[in-house]
């Protein structure tokens, strides 16, 4: 296992090194204008400052607050609406394609509307994040609950399970891994779209910081902030995937 995985990791590392190397090479004096693409050294210096000082904290707090609110709202709405839809085969046939269809529309198009409704502040980002994160949650909740193996349900009925027991001891654990995948997707795309919303129009947040640094031609600082956002997305992805894997194992 580890034998076959090692070269794979090496190749991945190689690609990253290649990107870093090209970045360094093309930004050597006489290369790309430092205002458009600063060299790695000043970017990493600014990145280090970001990590070691508290200057980014107010904006970070705003983004995290928006993200957590959106994820919580989307999970509550997605799970409860998904549950209601999954209750009859008819409503699954009606609503499942409907949600899947709406999901394929780029929800970012709603953003101007949300800006009008909820203003430039956190409300519009929470609304956008909730909208986007809602769909994977609701679709996976429906899929999870509607596709529980009929044999489990039959067995539970034969042993006298009532509706409440059936739901909590059979339906929920059987659907759990699928719902968890929906929650993971919701967490990740929710974060991405909130950052996107902040860069388009906002009063604070990581995206807001990046845009205002760009407008002030603070290129190396802007890239340091982008690096920070990438790191955050990476950590969120890793954490959520880890939680999902743990949840799956306990539910196997």
């Amino acid at each position: 296992m580890s034998k076959s995985k090692l070269p794979q990791r090496l190749v991945q590392l190689g690609v990253l090194v290649l990107i870093l190397f090209s970045w360094w090479y093309f930004t050597l004096p006489g290369g790309i204008n430092q205002l458009l693409l600063p060299a790695p050294a000043p970017v990493f210096r600014d990145f280090w400052v970001l990590l070691t000082t508290s200057s980014i904290w107010p904006d970070l707090l705003v983004t995290v607050r928006e993200w957590v609110s959106a994820v919580v709202l989307a999970s509550l709405l997605g799970c409860s609406i998904g549950y209601l839809v999954s209750r009859t085969a008819y409503s699954v046939r009606v609503f499942d394609p409907l949600f899947a269809g709406i999901y394929s529309i780029p929800a970012i198009l709603l953003y101007p509307l949300y800006l009008l409704f909820f203003g430039l502040g956190e409300g519009s980002k929470i609304a956008l994040g909730t909208t986007i994160a809602f769909f994977p949650v609701v679709l996976n909740t429906i899929a999870g609950l509607a596709n529980v193996d009929k044999a489990y349900i039959r067995a539970a009925h034969s042993m006298g399970a009532n509706d409440l027991q059936l739901f909590w001891t059979v339906m929920v654990p059987a659907a759990f891994p699928v719902v968890l995948t929906g929650l993971r997707l919701g967490c990740i795309i929710g974060f991405l779209v909130i950052l996107g919303g902040e860069t388009i129009s906002s009063l604070a947040g990581l995206g807001h910081r990046i845009v205002s640094l760009a407008e002030n031609m603070e290129s190396s600082q802007m890239f340091a902030n982008i690096l920070f956002a990438v790191l955050m997305a990476f950590i969120i992805n890793g954490t959520v995937s880890y939680v999902e894997a743990r949840g799956r194992r306990s539910a196997q």
Binding site: A161, V170, A174, S250
Partner: protein, 292 residues
């Protein structure tokens, strides 16, 4: 299971078991009265009559096998008896009461497919069945251990179903059914998914175990040998629409040992069953060969 052997022989000589050869109709615990099952509306060309006016009495403590060609409605009949399906006409009574839905206090099931919940350990699966049935929480642990011991899986309480072989999973399903302590056990091709050697060994163990418990059992199977080896009576169903063609007595005391498996008596009965079934199986093949 050899320890079970000795302690069981007492249980097996119970008067209930002895009586069963001259079946007293009054003592029937299950009565199947003119039960038919059709899928699809009348007049619909796709209407399928799975089962046609089946009438059958099952005596207390009897082990009855249902055998017949594929699609003859064996499982349908079992599901109707268990209250998991509603017959189109006719009725089933258990101890005089008409079956209208699952009766978990009286009937336990062993299914063909694996219906153990993969997210629960073996013992938690057994206990969950009792929780559904309404057994007090304090009693469940001991009863679950006891029934897992009875199927020889006491050491696997904390395993997950995915860690067990197919044969072991079916034993756990059996333990779960035994833990419900019902009078009646319905088994729907419980060994169908297992290889022949495993099912023969499980069949022997089952005979020992069931003789000891004295339950009333209906056992659906595809296997002629299994039917004869386990049952007091074998009900042969015709090709679709399934009717009960004949009932064969197997006069051999329980628990049945491996030498019965290889006896002339068993192979004579097996051949008799095969004669009865051969035409029926041909019928289903002809039906299938017909151009659409």
């Amino acid at each position: 299971m050899s320890t079970l052997d000795t302690e069981k022989s007492k249980g097996f000589q119970s008067p209930r078991r002895k009586e069963e050869h001259h079946v007293n109709r009054g003592d029937a615990i299950i009565k199947v009265e003119g039960v038919s099952q059709a899928f699809g509306a009348e007049g619909d060309p796709r209407r399928v009559v799975a089962l046609e006016s089946a009438t059958l009495d099952i005596a207390r403590g009897e082990l009855l096998s249902l055998i017949g060609p594929s699609g003859c409605g064996k499982s349908t009949l079992l599901n109707i008896i268990g209250g998991l399906a509603t017959p189109s006409t006719g009725r089933v009574t258990i101890e005089g009461q008409t079956v209208k839905g699952p009766s978990p206090q009286k009937v336990a099931y062993v299914f063909q497919e694996n219906t153990l919940f993969p997210w629960r350990t073996v013992i938690d699966n057994v206990k969950l069945g009792m929780a559904f049935q309404g057994v007090a929480k304090a009693e469940r642990e001991e009863r679950a251990r006891h029934s897992l011991e009875a199927v020889g899986l006491a050491d696997f309480c904390n395993h997950y179903p995915a860690q067990l072989s197919g044969g072991m999973k079916q034993r756990v399903q059996l333990a779960r059914a035994l833990g419900l302590q019902t009078e009646i056990l319905l088994m729907d091709e419980p060994f169908a998914a297992l290889d022949e050697q495993t099912r023969m060994v499980l069949g022997e163990d089952l005979s020992v175990l069931l003789a000891r418990t004295g339950k009333t059992i209906i056992f659906v199977t595809h296997s002629l040998v299994e039917a004869v080896f386990l049952a007091d009576r074998v009900a042969v169903l015709t090709a679709r629409p399934g009717k009960i063609k004949q009932i064969i007595q197997v006069e051999e005391p329980h628990p049945r040992k491996s030498d019965f498996m290889t006896s002339d008596k068993l192979s004579d009965l097996r051949n008799e069953l095969y004669e009865l079934l051969r035409d029926e199986i041909r019928k289903t093949m002809n039906v299938r060969a017909e151009p659409e």
